[in-house]
């Protein structure tokens, strides 16, 4: 066990990278990236998801093509595009970190657009019709009636996507950002006879975060299950119709 406990002397490097003297790295970089990409991706995802459900072909088709193409591209290639190739085409300089964030945000946007779309489709159509019938415009009906209900149902799916995105932030190791994987590799190169211990520490970092996110997701799922949109039971509908006659 000693070979493992002596690794805890490096905890600062695993968690923060060379932070006070250099850029933030280690597990903190993964977490920061995951949070940034989730929020950027959520904004873009709502736009894309709503666009895919639009009545207008000129909105629906571009959104659908965007989502399908990005979903079919490996996240690593998206990161390459945003970190290396788009800046070189545009002739601008983009810090590597922000390139990686943009690439992963594009990835997140496509997946979250699918979640948003599935969530909206799961809201019973009667809700939208009822909102229109009470005099709301289509935008009001979507914003005030459909989306709040859809978001509540989307929460568990968002939570499990957040876990998967957090794991995907590890790919920034490949373009040379010092995230948790990179810190583990650096330590293992400094201490070649302690390789297994450094890898176990690296895995533990991911495991602890993902596991705790998963338990939060489970609680959310239970809550949402209790709160889900009240469906009128078929008996009640029959009853009402009978009374009207």
């Amino acid at each position: 066990m000693e070979f493992l406990t002596e690794q805890f002397g490096n905890w600062r490097f695993y968690l923060l990278g060379s932070y006070p003297t250099g850029p933030v790295g280690g597990l903190a970089a993964n977490l920061m990236m995951a949070i940034l990409c989730l929020s950027l991706g959520l904004v873009a995802g709502i736009v894309l998801g709503l666009g895919r459900l639009s009545r207008h072909n000129f909105l629906r088709w571009p959104c659908a093509v965007c989502v399908e193409v990005i979903r079919a591209t490996p996240a690593l290639l998206l990161v390459f595009w945003f970190a290396f190739f788009l800046p070189s085409v545009a002739g601008r300089n983009l810090p590597l970190f922000w390139g990686a964030v943009l690439g992963l945000s594009a990835h997140a946007a496509a997946y979250q657009a699918e979640i948003v779309r599935a969530g909206i489709l799961a809201v019973p159509g009667g809700q939208f019709d009822a909102a229109l019938a009470s005099g709301m415009t289509r935008i009001q009906a979507t914003r005030l009636v459909v989306l709040p209900q859809a978001f509540r149902m989307m929460l568990p799916a968002f939570a499990s996507f957040a876990i998967s995105l957090f794991k995907d932030t590890s790919i920034v190791y490949i373009i040379g950002i010092v995230d948790l994987v990179q810190t583990g590799v650096i330590v293992s190169q400094r201490q070649p006879n302690r390789m297994l211990a450094t890898y176990i520490c690296m895995a533990m970092g991911f495991f602890v975060v993902c596991r705790s996110m998963a338990s939060v997701a489970k609680i959310l799922e239970k809550r949402v299950g209790a709160l889900s949109v009240p469906q009128t039971p078929p008996m009640a509908v029959e009853h009402r119709e009978m009374k009207q006659e």
Partner: protein, 250 residues
């Protein structure tokens, strides 16, 4: 509209050494994707059946494996099997592995199988649980043994239920092969980066690679959707909507 700051040269993909690298890259990518999909399907099914076993040690082992693998990124397993696994093997087997030219490809196959099988096992498990309990009881009363129940009654029905999440998972696995460049397995993404570092013409070949990944992933998705329509079962319609997202999440 400002001018693009890049002169395209698409011929790079057809010039002598580079075209060979790209073709080899496509071959390796497809090889790794197909082999890991098949292996992880069998391993995942085995794990799913183990998780429903009557023997507690099997249940515990399988759940521990799935819990461990699902909470650690796939890239970790690639690095682990490439760098660490040879070190901890006894009797100098590790040195022999490292000496082998094809070890990066072998390590990526092992790592992606390990990673993917955990997700597949969850999908198969959900599929098995969705088969109505009466089916197993009927099979039991028809005198089938437990293995016969799984092979001839439960799994064939479960496959149809789990086809949509399973196909998304396999497409995900295909896309994950791009991570193998981290351990220098000569697959497509690795070839594009190699060309980039030698000629600074990575943009064109990366565009081609992106097109290749998109084409394969979208085709597979289309085939899966056709099969799904062909097989549409009643059980599927009674699933909650979130199960449609099962395979694409984590």
């Amino acid at each position: 509209m400002s001018q693009l700051h890049y002169n395209f040269d698409w011929g790079i993909a057809f010039r002598h050494p580079y075209s060979d690298w790209l073709v080899t890259g496509i071959e390796i990518t497809l090889l790794v994707a197909v082999v890991t999909s098949i292996l992880s399907f069998f391993l995942g099914t085995l794990l799913a059946v183990m998780r429903q076993s009557r023997i507690w040690i099997f249940r515990m082992l399988a759940s521990a494996y799935v819990g461990l693998v699902r909470n650690i990124p796939g890239l970790f397993w690639l690095l682990f099997f490439y760098f660490v696994f040879p070190e901890i093997l006894p009797f100098g087997w590790g040195a022999r592995l490292n000496a082998c030219n094809c070890y990066p490809v072998v390590a990526s196959i092992i790592a992606l199988t390990v990673n993917n099988s955990a997700y597949v096992s969850d999908i198969v498990r959900a599929g098995l649980l969705a088969v109505p309990a009466g089916q197993r009881e009927a099979a039991m009363s028809a005198g089938l043994s437990r293995s016969q129940q799984y092979i001839s009654v439960l799994l064939p029905q479960a496959v149809r239920i789990m086809l949509p999440p399973l196909s998304t998972r396999m497409i995900h696995n295909f896309k994950n092969t791009s991570l193998c460049m981290a351990i220098s397995a000569p697959e497509l993404t690795w070839a594009t980066q190699q060309i980039e570092s030698l000629t600074f013409r990575g943009l064109e070949v990366t565009a081609l690679a992106t097109g290749f990944y998109c084409a394969v992933a979208l085709t597979l998705g289309g085939v899966a959707r056709m099969l799904e329509k062909h097989w549409q079962t009643r059980i599927r319609n009674e699933e909650p909507w979130t199960s449609r997202l099962y395979g694409i999440l984590d």
